[in-house]
Amino acid sequence: MSNVEVENDAQHHAQHHAQSGTGERRLQAHFDRTISHNQRIEPRDWMPEGYRKTLIRQIAQHAHSEIIGMQPEGEWITRAPSLRRKAILFAKVQDEAGHGLYLYSAAETLGADRADLTERLIEGRQKYSSIFNYPTLNFADVGVIGWFVDGAAICNQVPLCRSSYGPYARAMVRICKEESFHQRQGYELLMTMMRGTEAQRQMVQDAVDRWWWPSLMMFGPPDSESSHTVQSMAWRIKLHTNDELRQRFVDMTVPQAEKLGVVLPDPQLRWNNERGHHDFSTPDWSELKRVIDGDGPCNAQRMARRRAAHEEGAWVREAAGAYAAKQAAHEAGKKRQEGPAG
């Protein structure tokens, strides 16, 4: 039972030990040693408040992104061109819900409250990935999201499987296994369209043109403007910088685009033999800032949908709670009638 995660105990434990200053220092040293030896921090271990707070924010933001991320593609489930594509898209969107729940579960091991996290999202006090504030205009977008957005998610998440916080790393392992299906179904969808009519090929190219830059922005602002990177890397809850991950994504995607027969919309994009990487243009960071600040094409729509889903589900949660209470009362009544056991 060593990895059972019970919330709040960690805080009690910490308070108990931190009463004396030397106790606190000893705990900090133990924590630092665990991280530097590349071992995992587990929920009931002592950890600095900053580590706990930063992780809760990071994991919650990640969870919210998975949940909001269901919307752009979910819109196309009823309009999928075949039963096969519909079943695949259904499974994909359901996986994203699952990813959100794995991550909320990990956040709870740090003492966060799930209902509170939902509230923070709905009230706009916590953010989610900028990419989901762009619209899906036709079914080619579903393919390009799988290829680019899930591809970018893989670049981000694979290193996090080794993050210092155990429950987060384990959630990432589970998620990464599922992301591979997401990326491949998207690419296969696009290959199918590219074998179709000229109009279909144009749809794919159009979707690529619209999603390329927002996908590069998914990795966050450039390292020169990224404020939390140093501390987060020391804590091993971030393992590569935004620019490193962005570069990795570009290098990974270029040959895939060639095989597919589409053009990535960047005239500066070319292989640099000296660096051993592709050079590419600088994304429009002012656009990223606008979208993060709430002024993207779909921010209001995504938030309204999430809020409505939560409010429309209230009666279900109430009914389930009432049913559980009634069953529990019924069981208690039966036990009383049977009298004391033995």
């Binding site: 990895n3 434990h13 699952g98």
Partner: protein, 97 residues
């Protein structure tokens, strides 16, 4: 607005991946009662045949040891090297031991 949900307790989920293996902890979820916890666990943690059996248990029903590796709780096994087979020197030429 969310008060109703706060009453749904937290459950820990354990899955037996296949016959012959132990149940292993995979994560947690909220549910109104035990049965809902079980169906939610199925939907959340076994979408790709990851399990043949599921346990759910309310998190508040679990008693756990403290995590510190220097905790005296694990001391009783720390100094009993004679519980391990490598403690015993047996001549090389004794077979099958």
């Amino acid at each position: 607005m969310t008060r109703d949900r706060r009453k749904w307790p937290l459950y820990e989920v354990f899955i037996r991946g296949k016959r012959g293996l132990n149940h292993v902890h995979v994560g947690s979820l909220h549910a109104a009662d035990d049965r809902m916890a079980l169906t939610h666990a199925r939907d959340l943690y076994t979408r790709r045949n990851e399990g043949v059996s599921i346990w759910v248990v309310r998190s508040d029903a679990i008693t756990a040891s403290t995590p510190d590796e220097k905790d005296p709780f694990f001391a009783p096994s720390g100094d009993k090297v004679y519980r391990h087979p490598t403690f015993y020197d047996i001549p090389e030429d004794v077979p099958h031991i």
